[in-house]
């Protein structure tokens, strides 16, 4: 009898986990990346569904094209979790080139080297990627006020709009983050849980410049009786009860806390 009682939560846990994976599989457009050969060179391709939307031909920031594609795919995947319109996808000038943003999220940067490799200007290249993404998502281009599609992206823009244009993001993966070196430090952690609130210290690690920005860690912990639990750690640049301002590139290695309030 006791054993049966034990088995029920086990089976429930596995079923829950399976449901989670299944739900995730159906959420958002499917973004992937792969290595491919173009003109005798290995390139990194980012795909939405089966359409290549970004092609990266050059290495940057210590990352080869495939690694850059992986990072860009990860960003794109995160950005596509939201409801999007054409105006949410923008090309903006940045130092050394043009960058493609979705909302306020940087997706990829077209630097001069990548643009040269693709025979286009950085702005034209970024605009091409934008068009490819809109096309793959089936969003009509209402052509915002800015640079978007039309722009002199043509010359070297190679074939057509959609499929695998060669795109080579300037800063690739690490775009705005300099990954050189690793720093660690201890900061306060505040944990909100199903049973109460805890406070303590957390050891965070990441690129030195990013770690320096971290002021604390916000933790959300949900405990489901004897079945399981979920933790989420968010290193933040400001202590605020209303907004989570995550510091990118920083993660948590260790924590130690004590109970503050019991619910």
């Amino acid at each position: 009898m006791l054993r049966r009682v034990k088995v029920v939560p086990l089976a429930l846990a596995v079923a829950l986990f399976a449901a989670l994976a299944a739900a995730a599989a159906f959420s958002a457009a499917s973004v992937s990346y792969r290595s491919a050969e173009r003109d005798g060179h290995r390139v990194g391709e980012v795909l939405i569904g089966d359409q290549v939307v970004i092609v990266l031909r050059t290495s940057a920031g210590g990352y080869v094209p495939l690694e850059r594609a992986e990072v860009v795919a990860s960003r794109l995947r995160a950005a596509l979790g939201e409801e999007l319109g054409a105006r949410d996808i923008e090309v903006m000038p940045v130092a050394g080139g043009s960058a493609l943003y979705i909302g306020d999220r940087l997706i990829v940067t077209a630097n001069q080297a990548e643009a040269d490799a693709q025979g286009a200007t950085p702005e034209a290249l970024a605009s091409l990627w934008r068009s490819n993404i809109l096309g793959a998502l089936g969003i009509a281009d209402v052509s915002p006020e800015a640079p978007a599609s039309g722009q002199e992206a043509t010359p070297s823009q190679e074939p057509a709009p959609s499929q695998g244009q060669t795109a080579k993001p300037a800063a690739a993966a690490g775009d705005s983050i300099d990954w050189t070196g690793t720093a660690q430090k201890w900061v306060p952690i505040f944990s909100l849980e199903t049973e109460g609130a805890y406070i303590g210290a957390a050891q965070v690690a990441g690129p030195p410049a990013q770690v320096a920005k971290v002021k604390g860690v916000a933790e959300l912990r949900l405990n489901f009786q004897n079945i399981g639990r979920i933790f989420v750690y968010v290193p933040v640049s400001a202590i605020s009860l209303t907004k989570l301002d995550r510091v990118q590139g920083v993660s948590v290695w260790a924590t130690g806390d004590i109970g503050l309030v019991r619910f």
Partner: protein, 145 residues
């Protein structure tokens, strides 16, 4: 279509595992736990990308999205009862891709709760885990063993 097959496979696996667990109830302690650990580790390795996407979407909704490289790997936790599940790791893109698993050691002394998480480049339980440099944990989903 592909997603449909994948989901079917996941659900089938879950059903098989559940059956195995129920059956194991009559065989004594151990088999159910082994099936659970192995099954969940397998699910995580097979569906890490989807779980990663799910976590990313959940964080996005709270304006806490991660823009760097992430990966979901199995996590094994000891110290406060055993737990197995999935951990999302984040950090240097070149090192994130090498992470195979996360080992977590936690405890409780009075109301103080220490917790150490070590992303490793090996998925073997024996020996000293080799820490993946520049990589840490951002989220965890675990089930009690």
């Amino acid at each position: 279509m592909r997603l449909g097959k994948r989901s079917t496979a996941v659900l089938l696996m879950a059903a098989l595992l559940s059956l195995g667990l129920v059956a194991s109830a009559g065989w004594g302690l151990g088999l159910g736990d082994i099936l659970k650990v192995g099954g969940i580790a397998w699910l995580v390795s097979q569906y890490g990308d989807q779980i990663d996407k799910f976590i990313g979407s959940a964080l996005n909704e709270r304006q806490a999205q991660i823009n760097g490289a992430t990966k979901v790997v199995p996590i094994l936790s000891v110290g406060q009862g055993g737990y197995i599940g999935a951990a999302q790791v984040v950090g240097n893109p070149q090192n994130v891709k090498d992470v195979k698993a996360v080992f977590q050691l936690e405890g409780q002394v009075g109301s103080f709760r220490p917790n150490i998480m070590v992303p490793t480049v090996t998925d073997k339980v024996s020996g000293n885990p080799e820490r993946a440099k520049g990589v840490g944990v951002s989220a965890v989903i675990q089930f009690r063993i």
